[in-house]
């Protein structure tokens, strides 16, 4: 079975979970999970949204301290009370949600909680900045270590966070969806680093919904379903279809995200929203784009190509430096997101914490965008709940009910709530940034179905993504952005993944 471990003859695992269960206020998240991680192994972890991947890993990393069952590190029983204790025992985790400090510099984030001191016992800034630059450079990034974290694009922040854990010297490294915001070349560099770390005899757990990535990088793959571990197999003996059927508990539904697409741009459809040569003074330069009723326009580009800024500018969050927006043929400039919403614009950002209220119930998260439609002055919680209930059923959001805190949902299900808030009253223009990021196969399918349904009801949709599959599956037209300028437009005919990658 396990090639590395056998060659060394029955080594004890680096990490072992034995019959671990965890429930949240009576709701079972994982049950009776057995799991082993060996030294020199990259262990892939897959499963649908809400399967219990993050929960299991948070137990290992000391985030959740009350659970049942036993955990061993190198054969020794342990029970971490905090993430700090786990870190001290050599376990580092990069969480699914970014947990960087936006106000600190890049270098400070890399060395968070472990600043090296110089011989005077003070923080050695020169060393920190220099080292941080070197470490980040090994992930292929050239950024100023003194830049403020919050000012960087999400993908870069993700890389910085990765570098913090990768180079912390931890012996057990847990990566919860580390590649969700990375472009293909960045993923490749990350994998090179992971292979080096593995060669050092450390152990890595790699969670991802990108099954191809998991197949490429892991030695062993464990599948979770509904809070249970259903299988652990060496990668060599697995196919993608095996994994999918293990994940969903039935045969593969034959659903594969697009490798190519037939575009169906139709110039007869009326233009609803238009960007004319817009610049934001930083990332975007002279970008023009037309959104038509009943069409999905995809914007593809690597991280940092200006998609994020484009989406924010269109929703009134950042202001234009040059150029203008047109809505129904009239020039328009939104002074605030509230004004944009009033004009029928809707936006789901790529980072769900930007869009959601973790400690509020689901129904308040959904209704916040439509309160003004429900009633002018007084609240009607009954209506809010029933609207939310409809969305929970439609989107198959996995939860106990409308009054559960949003934070109790798994990452992918939170993403669905973020979309749900714009579905009650159809917007005229819907802007979706990375709409399928962090979603499992089934959930992606749901989202694709919903977005296409909205298109067919006449909404003009803009989808921005750095995943070519997402663009190819959804878009009727594609605009490729490169470094803030429009590099190429595809309006009709068949295009392939390679066309997008080479244009970007």
């Amino acid at each position: 079975m396990r090639t590395q471990s056998e060659s060394r003859g029955e080594p004890s695992p680096l990490l072992e979970l034995s019959a671990v269960s965890k429930s949240f206020g009576g709701v079972v998240a994982i049950e009776n999970v057995d799991f082993q991680l060996y030294a020199g192994e990259i262990h892939g972890l897959v499963g649908e949204n809400g399967a219990g991947k993050s929960t299991s890993m948070k137990i290992i990393a000391g985030v959740h301290s009350d659970y049942e069952g036993q955990m061993y590190v190198q054969g020794q029983p342990v029970h971490f009370k905090s993430a700090r204790e786990a870190l001290a025992a050599g376990i580092g985790m990069v969480h699914q949600e970014l947990s960087t400090c936006p106000d600190l510099t890049v270098a400070e984030n890399v060395f968070l909680g472990q600043q090296p001191l110089n011989r005077f016992g003070t923080i050695d800034w020169a060393f920190i900045n220099h080292e941080a630059k070197r470490l980040i450079a090994s992930l292929g990034l050239d950024i100023d270590p003194t830049a403020t974290m919050g000012a960087l694009p999400v993908g870069i922040q993700q890389l910085v966070e990765l570098s913090r854990v990768l180079f912390s010297g931890a012996r057990i490294i847990i990566l919860d969806e580390p590649t969700s915001a990375l472009s293909p070349p960045e993923v490749k560099r990350l994998f090179d680093v992971l292979r080096k770390i593995k060669a050092d005899g450390r152990g890595i757990i790699f969670i991802s919904h990108f099954l191809d990535d998991v197949l490429e990088i892991s030695d062993t793959i464990t599948v979770f379903r509904n809070g249970h571990k259903v299988a652990t197999d060496p990668t060599a003996s697995l196919t993608k279809d095996d994994m999918i059927s293990n994940m969903i508990g039935r045969g593969s539904i034959g659903m594969h995200m697009g490798e190519s697409a037939d575009l169906k741009g139709d110039d007869a459809k009326p233009i609803v929203f238009e960007a004319e040569a817009i610049s934001d003074g930083k990332q975007l330069r002279d970008v023009s784009l037309k959104l038509r009723a009943g069409e999905i326009t995809g914007v593809y580009g690597f991280m940092g190509c200006g998609q994020i800024e484009l989406a924010r500018a269109a929703f009134g969050k950042i202001h234009l430096h040059k150029g203008r927006f047109m809505l129904d043929g009239q020039e328009i400039s939104f002074r605030s997101t509230a004004a944009a919403k009033r004009h029928g614009m809707a936006f789901v950002p790529e980072n769900r914490s930007m869009m959601l209220f973790r400690t509020e119930p689901i129904y308040k998260n959904v209704s916040i965008a439509i309160l003004d439609r429900i009633h002018r002055l007084l609240l009607k919680p009954g209506t809010e709940r029933s609207i939310t209930k409809t969305h929970i059923d439609d989107l198959q959001i996995k939860t106990q009910g409308t009054d559960m805190d949003l934070g109790s949902l798994s990452g992918g299900n939170q993403q669905k709530v973020a979309l749900a808030k714009w579905l009650t009253h159809l917007p005229r223009v819907l802007i979706l940034s990375e709409p399928t990021r962090g979603m499992d196969v089934g959930a992606k399918e749901d989202v694709i179905r919903i977005v296409k349904g909205l298109r067919d009801r006449g909404v003009a949709i803009l989808v921005l993504s750095s995943e070519p599959e997402t663009i190819l599956t959804l878009a009727d037209r594609v605009t490729v952005l490169r470094k803030g300028v429009v590099a190429k437009e595809f309006n009709s005919g068949t295009i392939h993944k390679a066309d997008l990658l080479s244009a970007a």
Binding site: G25, G26, E31, F315, F357, R358, E360, D372, L378, L379
Partner: protein, 335 residues
């Protein structure tokens, strides 16, 4: 499946963590009441209860406004200074006795009151402008406003003391209705309206959501600048009205009269369990906080304690409340 016992225990635990910020202040209040009732027979009487109510009533009006502000995760440090300035303003618009040497601008009572309320509104607008348009953190902006309001007070009274106020203000501040002080009635009214607005209106929901996650509120199309600006104005107006009643209550208006109001008002809101990080808490919390504060201040007068020690005790209680406040937040987030 897990056995039923841990499930029930788990539920209970999660409810407790959820409610810690609401439960802890109630226990504090009960503990204080029990302690003082045992320690001093004069404490637990109807008369003394009305006393406590009267003592906290003016702070209560300020605390209503401050609850709005703190719920949005902002702060207003100018409340005491604005209460002071507005109290002085209403005196400035009133005929003073001959021996008061102030170059004032007397008006008919109603107009004086309207102008004064407008002045409070104007203070609020300036704060709102600074915080939302200019983007000055409220902590700094309201420090500046504190100084500005003190400056206005100084210019208006020039070291003198004013003694006359419009009749309506005098009645509401110093009079009573069937033996119940008007300030109590006004405070209850403000608390009730504040509760209603926060709990049952769309605006109230926006206040909570803006405090809970400002960015998310903005991306959901909430006009967060308007919300934050408006809570600053609401706070200034509440504070101004409290200031008017307060000068009438004391029968005089002078510089630096209400300096203790700032700490008291913030303490009432925070001790009650409203989160300093925004989005959690509300008027019921503030009511409990006010009672804790009132019982503590009043009770310490009933037991024989060194009056200097009292100051320290109040500080310690505040520290304990703040600790619980922050701790409750952390529990909630880690859950």
């Amino acid at each position: 499946m897990t056995t039923p016992t841990p499930v029930v225990a788990g539920k209970l635990k999660s409810v407790l963590t959820d409610q810690l910020r609401n439960i802890a202040p109630v226990f504090t209040l009960l503990a204080l009441v029990t302690f003082f009732s045992v320690a001093a027979p004069s404490f637990l009487t109807v008369d003394n209860f009305m006393n406590i109510m009267a003592q906290v009533s003016i702070i209560a009006i300020i605390a209503v406004g401050l609850t709005f502000v703190i719920l949005t995760a902002e702060i207003d440090l100018s409340v005491a200074a604005i209460a002071n300035a507005i109290g002085i303003t209403v005196a400035y618009f009133t005929v003073q006795p001959d021996y008061v040497n102030i170059a004032n601008l007397p008006m008919p009572g109603v107009i004086a009151i309207v102008l004064t309320v407008l002045a409070a509104f104007a203070f609020g607008l300036v704060t709102a402008f600074g915080v939302t348009w200019v983007g000055i953190p409220s902590f700094i902006m309201t420090l500046a406003m504190m100084q500005i309001a003190n400056g206005v007070s100084a210019l208006l009274v020039r070291g003198q003391i004013a003694y006359k106020f419009p009749d309506l203000v005098t009645t509401l501040g110093a009079g009573d209705l069937f033996g119940v002080r008007w300030t109590i009635i006004v405070a209850v009214l403000f608390l009730a309206v504040g509760y209603f607005v926060l709990k049952y209106t769309r605006y109230g929901r926006y206040v909570y959501m803006t405090g809970g996650n400002r960015e998310a509120a903005e991306y959901s199309g909430v006009n967060v600048k308007f919300i934050i600006g408006s809570v600053m104005v609401i706070c200034a107006v509440c504070t101004g009205i409290a200031g008017m009643l307060s000068v009438a209550y004391y029968g005089s208006a002078q510089q630096n009269q209400f300096d203790t109001y700032l700490l008291d008002a913030i303490a009432a809101v925070v001790v009650g369990g409203t989160s300093l990080f925004g989005g959690r808490g509300g008027i019921p919390n503030t009511i409990i906080g006010l009672l804790v504060l009132g019982v503590l201040n009043n009770g310490l007068d009933h037991v024989q304690i060194d009056s200097f020690l009292k100051i320290l005790i109040r500080g310690l209680i505040l520290l304990a409340a703040l600790t619980i406040n922050v701790y409750a937040q952390r529990l909630k987030e880690n859950n």
